[in-house]
């Protein structure tokens, strides 16, 4: 077990430095990147660029780029709608059309957004996809989601089935199955859509860039092992993963972004600075936590504030691994382009078995010197949520650290009860403190 030094006494100094509310260079860089992506997407009907809708976990960004296609990411559109307070209206619209209140709100938000004019986060109308590339990695809902969209858009779809790592391993047969689908289904479909012949050397070039960015992302995430942590690996982490989980893996811009970000974070480590929050730099790290599960997007700032107001920093999270477990060693490999894409799809966090998830979270608690771990269980996502109460008990048993459990939703504002969540987080942190105090006196 990691030897955890005693925590600073709570309340001995201010937690935040409001004078430091300035945007880092990487933030501006990312804003430009994401803005350029949405502009390109919005202009695609004029430019004639074809679009392909796909999902974040197990996405084939480099392959899509090889055909000059522009990805549409419905999950990202949904979470952006959540952050812009639009999702509630879209969800209601979808439910009015007959979609059940019991199902994933990403799906309903996406369908509601389409029926309400398909306006993207930059205010521009987004195009409908020319093709649906269904990468079925770790989420059953994805399959039904694209079947629903296919009915809406009337465009063709291609399925890439990614076998589940039920026993915590990727077998040669699993990999071969994914590669075979890439060769016989996905690549021919994208060739037909784009009119571009597949160039494996171009894919190799893109995978080389991917691996470079992945190295830098891992350095950023692992910087949270420092004390104080220079980053928040959950609330800040979702920004850090943005470019690499979406349209910029395999691009030079993506590499440049992660190099800038890494340099910033390494500088923060050298200066022993805490993470940036919307209200300034955290100067008093009181709790180090690991978080499992996606964040809530409708009240993202409010949710984050509940943590930094208490001096709680998230040092590792599972959500930032849904688009790839790079910190466990995986890198896209130009020497095995299609095999590497297959391994990537197979290895995403949501494709891990429950025992492997328990193992990973327990390892994070130890490796990052966490005081405890917290599960944000979201109603929408059975892929994450089913089994989390057992995960809670198992990780507690293995690590001896306190586990907490809160419930919310991805983009349904009706399922975010701020007072309840705040109360639970405060109670949980008190429990962590008591446990820590008991450990220190033992």
């Amino acid at each position: 077990m990691t030897n955890i030094p005693p925590p600073p006494m709570p309340g001995t100094k201010p937690i935040l430095d409001p004078k430091s509310v300035v945007k880092d260079r990487s933030m501006e860089f990312q804003k430009e990147l994401i803005g350029s992506y949405y502009d390109r997407l919005a202009r695609s009907p004029e430019t004639g660029e074809k679009t392909v809708a796909t999902f974040v976990p197990g996405n084939l960004a480099e392959l899509i780029q090889c055909f000059g296609l522009v990805p549409i990411l419905p999950e990202i559109n949904a979470l952006q709608s959540g952050m812009r307070k639009q999702s509630g209206h879209y969800i209601t619209e979808a439910e009015r059309m007959g979609h059940s209140e019991d199902v994933c709100t990403y799906v309903k938000c996406d369908i509601g957004m389409f029926h309400e004019g398909n306006v993207g986060p930059t205010g521009a109308v987004l195009p409908t996809p020319d093709h649906l590339l269904l990468s079925y990695t770790g989420c059953f809902t994805f399959m039904k989601w694209f079947e629903l969209l296919r009915e809406e858009y009337g465009c063709p779809s291609t399925m890439l089935q990614v076998p589940y790592q039920a026993r915590g391993e990727i077998t040669p047969e699993m990999k071969a199955y994914v590669v075979k689908q890439l060769k016989t289904e996905v690549i021919p479909a994208l060739e037909k859509l784009s009119g571009v012949k597949f160039d494996i050397d171009l894919l190799r070039e893109k995978l080389t860039l991917s691996a470079r960015a992945e190295d830098d992302l891992v350095a950023v995430l692992e910087a949270a092992k420092a004390r104080p942590s220079p980053i928040d690996a959950y609330f800040g982490g979702v920004y850090y993963i943005g470019p690499i989980f979406t349209a910029f893996r395999g691009t030079q811009e993506g590499c440049d972004y992660y190099r800038v970000l890494r340099e910033e974070v390494e500088e923060r480590v050298r200066q022993r600075r805490g993470p940036t929050t919307p209200e300034g730099e955290m100067t008093d790290e009181r709790f180090r936590l690991v978080v499992e599960g996606p964040p809530n997007w409708t009240n993202f700032r409010e949710f984050w504030k509940m943590f930094y107001d208490e001096g709680a920093v998230v040092v590792a999270s599972t959500y930032t691994k849904v688009g790839g477990l790079y910190d466990r060693g995986f890198r896209h490999d130009p020497s095995d382009p299609l095999g590497s894409l297959a391994e990537y799809c197979l290895g995403c966090y949501t494709n891990l078995s429950l025992p492997k998830r328990v193992e990973l979270i327990s390892d994070y608690v130890e490796e990052y010197g966490a005081d405890g771990f917290l599960i944000n269980s979201v109603k929408s996502c059975a892929s994450f949520s089913a089994g989390q109460l057992l995960i809670l008990r198992e990780v507690e048993k293995r690590t001896g650290r306190a586990g907490g459990f809160i419930e919310s939703d991805l983009v349904d504002p009706r399922y975010f009860s701020g007072a309840n969540i705040k109360n639970r987080i405060e109670s949980y942190l008190q429990m962590v403190e008591q446990k820590r105090a008991a450990g220190a006196t033992a």
């Binding site: 059309m97 007959g98 979609h99 059940s100 019991d102 199902v103 994933c104 799906v107 269904l134 079925y136 989420c139 059953f140 809902t141 399959m143 039904k144 989601w145 079947e147 629903l148 296919r150 009915e151 009337g154 779809s157 399925m159 089935q161 076998p163 589940y164 039920a166 026993r167 047969e173 199955y177 075979k180 689908q181 016989t184 289904e185 078995s353 429950l354 025992p355 492997k356 998830r357 328990v358 269980s377 109603k379 059975a382 892929s383 949520s385 089913a386 089994g387 989390q388 109460l389 057992l390 198992e394 419930e407």
Partner: protein
Amino acid sequence: MTRTTAELMAFAEDLYYDLDFKSVKRWKVKTGGHAIGFMPVYAPREIVHAAGAMPVGIVGAGDWLEVIRGDAYYQSYLCHIPRSTIDMAESGRLDFLEGMLFPSTCDVIRNLSGMWQIVKPDMYTRYVDVPQNFTDGVGGQFWAHELRTLAQELGERTGTEVTDERLRASIALFNENRRAVCDLYSLRRDEPARAPTSEVYLMVRAGLVMDVEDHTALIREYITAARNITPPELDNARVIVVGAFCEQPPIGLIKSIERSGCFVVDDDLILISRWFTDNAAETGDPIEALALAFVHDSVPTAVMYSAKAGRGKAVVERVRVARAEGVIFAAPSFCTPALLDQPMLVAELDREGIPYTAFKFAENAGQFQPIREQTGTFADTMKLWSVA
């Protein structure tokens, strides 16, 4: 001596309510065989059988088990079948099983396969990752490998090697069983008053905890007995029930639908009993036969990917074949596959002008009056105002 439908029903009801699986335990003692559980929707029962084990359907605990431990594993916004299943595991009710198969039905059952590895570390556990690609050399090949692995592992577990000969014999037995069940469904479709769904359901469900040959004989016996009764004269509306392919509705709910004035002339309950729409080949490589039967002849259902648009066309075809007047959507609460599928089916029914109604249920639901009123009104509406 030939049994009456009432006597056969009493037999099937005993099995239905037996959460201690006494019939399976008796079978094990009698034959020295093993028992391997499986959850909905599809598991290759032929392979389990060929390995000298009875495939035992674990489809929840209905409304007659008070779930206590299971609720400690699941949040309120997840369906009921996993909580009753793990409750049965925790209370020792499933200790008679040598193994458990978890098909890739949805994320909840998928994750339950991992929970099982933790909760029941000594039990053989396998996730059955069925193909969603239906090309012979792609999804078919992957599935054949999965089946071979399963056959080998089960053989090692039971001590009975799954030889080609044994597997071909098992395929033949399950083909015969499927034909019997389909004959029963045809009888109900043609003469629903003679074979009501509350009876047909229990007869088919009995197959989850019986030896396959005994179950085939039971179904045949019921068909004969049902043909000998004088059915009541009823002017019910003909409906099909869609959405209850995993978590099962309590029998009281099925009876309520019928008593409200509906003949249920098709359904997707206990779908595994008629999963293949054609016989699996009984000659040649039996693994290939099962793999190809799956990729070519699986019944269309929400858990299977549809490579082409028009998901609702299959339900319209079922309405036509069953000569149904309308559709009742009965999905378990929080059932992702059924509830995400439903809008696509509804859209097609709207296009075809086929009436429908929808409600949700949980396997432990105890109050059926609102559903009875809803389906009764639906039946009346169809009878009074239908164009025909």
